[in-house]
Symmetry: C2
Subunit: 139 residues, 2 copies
């Protein structure tokens, strides 16, 4: 469903991502192309038990944020190892050399957000506009 001011995609239940999405690997769903995002790339991810990202990577100019929704594991940045669990939020600067793995007994679900570092200019307080009209849900 598309409109000038919004786009919608249905990823389905996160626990099924491994079987429902292979973009480009099983369990990964990129949202930029599905939604026409213009300022961020976002992926939804399910990493199976025993799974790991099999390489390190850093970025040229993009900041990343990893949000862990379920599962247990370890995250590595520049050789430092961090524990991952539900609610763990990790920002990585472009230069950070990162990877992570699932060390738990169930599939891990996480969201990864990528944006240009230093790009936002207005935060919530100065960017939001609240019109002076009551919310209407019924005709």
């Amino acid at each position: 469903m598309n409109n000038v001011n919004f786009t919608v995609a249905e990823a389905g239940p996160f626990k099924d991502l491994i079987s429902t999405s292979q973009d480009p690997v099983p369990g990964k769903l990129y949202l930029k192309s599905k939604l026409g995002l213009t300022g961020m790339e976002v992926s939804l991810n399910q990493l199976p038990t025993g799974g790991s990202v099999p390489f390190y990577h850093s970025h040229r100019e993009n900041e990343e944020l990893y949000l862990f929704v379920s599962g247990r594991g370890e995250f590595q940045v520049d050789g430092r190892i961090l524990e991952i669990k539900e609610g763990t939020c990790i920002r990585v600067a472009p230069e950070g050399v990162r990877t992570h793995r699932n060390t738990g007994s169930e599939a891990m679900v996480f969201v990864c957000i990528q944006v240009k570092a230093e790009s936002i200019q207005h935060w919530v307080e100065s960017d939001a506009v609240v019109p002076d009209e009551p919310v209407m849900w019924e005709a």
Copy 2:
């Protein structure tokens, strides 16, 4: 735990956000200040049964993405109403006049991401750098 190239925050279980975070309202946790984000504002949110955002809002220049993790509800943009469930992803352009509500029988959990529209310049393919070294987890 902070380092030059990463920062970490623990939000805890999403089902407890209403009691663990009031930033600035119960159930909302903004991550920019906790993580030192430089290109995005991200909030983790739990909206209780029967809850709603009590106002419309749009943005001056920021694109928003709403990721719904659990619960059921309705999202409204420019008077159009969309169904919300687990896995629903909604991009809203700055000009879209938006609000949403929980119409289900349990608390709704969602992530809201805000970035400057049109700000990203390199996507995954051209921004990632993969060093030629194997991943090491053990000393």
